[in-house]
């Protein structure tokens, strides 16, 4: 009887059922879309952070960069002019940010309570100037004095013609990797897609792994060689960054990097993995307290420095999106409750008759709640379908968002500043902090939790509407069945 009556009533009140279901569906679809887009934003932010830190890094320890004086630390290139138009080349290797930590700091950090692992790395910036630097030729003036052996001043009259410089500047970033600890640090966010990666035997080897984009630009492949400051490195592998943006153009063994930069036993950044991801804040405090002069930056600190359209969209999704979906849901619940209640009002005589026939209030209430519940479930199913379609559309379109990172200068800035792992083409020597814009394609992944939330909301919507209607129905008197006018 319950199901027969339920089915027939839903069919009779098809329009109202559709309105209720559509309202709930809209709210639920919005919740799914906002949730999945927010998850996509978090994922995108994660990718941005991962491109800096690599996988598994919870925080970095670096030394805040001191403000650079106008000239100190700036590279100088000396070229002598020549007559033979021969190509000359000179390169300078500098530690990125100029501030280094002693390698012993890595051990100190690793010994702190709550630290699972600490690995050091050295960020270098290489500027290579190459080209021809020709001497000009003196051409004597024929009409004016200065005849050889003549009187007068005796100095030849004439002018220097030709000469000059034709050179190009190539700057790229190099990261010194601890080849004994390859599971932490920026290289973990890249995959070796050609050749091979480092092994612990490469501690002092003259080998290099190139970033795919850089290798493509310079037309370098596995087996080729790259010369950095007079040392020839063999390309053993090509790495492709997961996020499409790598931490450096080239990776070499840490010891080699230290030699190149004349920074023996120095690192710029210590990558730290905490033993418990929930105690990152405590570990940060411990490091800052026990190892003076260091700046500890967690991924949460870094996330705050993310700006650009990713940040704007993320804020929109979490604030406007959240409140919009809550508002639509509340409106949908209210509409469902009002329509259910109004349907009960129109069925006063019907329910009164059933009560007069001996139906208990609970039975009548269950019937009303059952109808509202099914409306809720229909709305939920429709909402999930709409939400999935919206999330799929966002993923299919994959709108590109830009994220700018770590542009804050001075002490206390994230890894984008000073000794952090931020380098690359845009970052040159003397630059306090290299801000970098990354392009991330937005996806909208729908998690099981989101679906469970949607189903829970649908059930809640149905129950709220049913409770309203059921409460009205339970209060009806059987005598109402005798009312002659409907």
């Amino acid at each position: 009887m319950f199901f027969t009556y339920l089915r027939r009533e839903l069919r009779r009140r098809k329009k109202a059922a559709i309105v209720i279901s559509m309202g709930l569906a809209l709210g639920i679809a919005l919740v799914i879309t906002v949730n999945s887009v927010s998850a996509g934003m978090s994922q995108a932010q994660g990718k941005v952070l991962q491109s800096l830190y690599g996988l598994g890094t919870d925080m970095t320890v670096s030394k805040a960069a001191a403000a650079a004086s106008s000239t100190s630390g700036q590279p100088r290139f000396n070229f002598g002019a020549r007559d033979d138009s021969k190509n000359q080349s000179s390169d300078r290797v500098m530690v990125q940010g100029f501030e280094t930590l002693k390698s012993s700091v890595v051990t100190q950090v690793a010994d702190q309570t709550g630290v699972k692992k600490a690995v050091g790395g050295l960020s270098l910036s290489v500027i290579k100037v190459s080209g021809t630097f020709d001497r000009g030729t003196f051409k004597q003036n024929q009409s004016a004095g200065g005849k050889p052996g003549g009187g007068g001043s005796g100095a030849p009259q004439g002018q220097v013609q030709g000469g000059g410089a034709d050179f190009s500047i190539n700057s790229f970033s190099v990261y010194g990797t601890d080849v004994a600890n390859l599971d932490l640090g920026p290289l973990t966010s890249s995959k070796i897609t050609s050749g091979k990666g480092f092994t612990s035997a490469d501690t002092n080897a003259k080998v290099v792994v190139l970033d795919k984009s850089y290798a493509k630009t310079k037309k370098l492949t596995v087996g080729d060689s790259v010369t950095i400051s007079g040392t020839k490195f063999k390309v053993i592998g090509i790495a492709t960054a997961d996020s499409g943006d790598s931490a450096a153009n080239a990776y070499i063994p840490l010891q080699r990097a230290q030699t190149l930069a004349d920074s023996k036993d120095k690192v710029t950044t210590v990558y730290v993995q905490a033993a418990d991801s929930k105690k990152i804040s405590a570990v940060k405090t411990a490091i800052q307290k026990n190892i003076s002069g260091t700046t500890v930056t967690t991924s949460a600190d870094l996330a705050d420095t993310v700006s650009g359209s990713l940040s704007t969209a993320s804020n929109l999704a979490t604030s406007v999106g959240k409140w919009l979906s809550i508002a639509v849901l509340i409106a949908a619940f209210l509409v469902a409750a009002l329509l259910t209640s109004s349907a009960v009002n129109r069925r006063v005589r019907e329910f009164g008759t059933l009560k007069a026939l001996g139906w208990k209030s609970g039975r009548v209430t269950r019937q009303v709640m059952g109808e509202a519940f099914v409306n809720g479930l229909l709305g939920g199913a429709l909402g999930i379908a709409l939400g999935l379609a919206a999330a799929y559309t966002v993923t299919a379109i994959s709108p590109t968002l830009t994220a700018s990172l770590g542009s804050t200068a001075g002490a206390g800035a994230g890894p984008g500043a000073g000794g952090g792992g931020r380098f690359g083409g845009a970052g040159g020597p003397g630059q306090q902090a290299a801000s970098k814009a990354l392009k991330i394609a937005l996806e909208a992944p729908v998690s099981v939790n989101t679906i469970v939330l949607a189903v829970a909301l649908a059930v809640a919507g149905g129950l709220i509407a049913g409770t309203f209607g059921g409460w009205r129905a339970s209060r009806l008197r059987p005598a109402d069945a005798l009312r002659r006018v409907e």
Binding site: M1, R349, L354, L357, G358, W359, P478, L482, R484
Partner: protein, 233 residues
């Protein structure tokens, strides 16, 4: 069966207090057929609500088989209505989305009758009023007379002790009215029911065995040709 003593019913309509029943005393025996007649607003329907355990009096007592139903809990009143009282309404009050058979089944649902048994009893009840061919028709597909027959089947399928009818022919034409009255009269005798009918139709009132005239909330009983149905319970 019914013994009403000093039954009073008042209710508020805005600021005004309406005295629907004013101290009614009335005895109705098992198997009686009583027609309650009176002007509109005289209290007919209110009295029927009291007899049908649909409402409680403001004062007084209504004994049904020796139990004061005015003092029964809501649950017990509901059970009393489900098991012992059948009601027919002027506008039939059928559920528009349910078929004739399903409408009759609604009276058996609160009694815990199993679905198969429910369907069988409902079909039998409809056959007994000549609607064996209309089991699966919706109320909208039936004439007024047929709808009232369905309502009668619904009231009688549970074999009640009392059949209450509120203007059962009020919405029917004359021919159908006589047909329904004849059917009710036959069922009253066949089932041995106590049959109480409210009407404002003087033609029906004149031919009633017992006539209760209600006016301004007070009732006068007249035994015109009193007879009782052979009580079968």
């Amino acid at each position: 069966m019914y013994k009403l003593s000093g039954v009073t019913k008042q209710y508020s309509r805005g600021k005004e207090t309406v005295h629907a029943l004013r101290g009614i005393d009335l005895v109705i025996e098992d198997g009686d057929q009583v027609v309650i007649q009176g002007p509109t607003g005289g209290g007919k329907s209110t009295l029927l609500q009291m007899l049908g355990a649909l409402d409680r009096p403001t004062a007084g007592s209504i004994e049904f088989d020796g139990v004061d139903i005015a003092k029964l809990s809501e649950t017990k009143l509901t059970r009393l209505r489900a098991e012992k009282i059948g009601i027919i309404f002027q506008s039939f009050n059928l559920i528009p989305t349910l078929t004739a058979q399903e409408n009759v089944e609604t009276a058996l649902a609160p009694m815990g009758t199993k679905p198969a048994e429910r369907r069988r009893l409902a079909a039998e009840a409809l056959e007994s009023v000549g609607l064996g061919e209309r089991l699966h028709h919706l109320p909208g597909e039936l004439s007024g007379g047929q709808q009232q027959r369905v309502a009668i089947s619904r009231a009688l399928v549970k074999k009640p002790k009392v059949l209450l009818a509120d203007e059962p022919t009020g919405a029917l034409d004359e021919g159908t009215r006589d047909e329904i009255l004849a059917l009710l009269d036959g069922l009253w005798k066949e089932y041995g029911l106590t049959f109480i009918m409210v009407t404002h139709d003087s033609h029906i009132a004149k031919s009633a065995p017992r006539l209760a005239t209600i006016k301004a909330g007070q009732v006068t009983i007249t035994d015109q040709a009193r007879q009782t149905a052979p009580v079968s319970y």
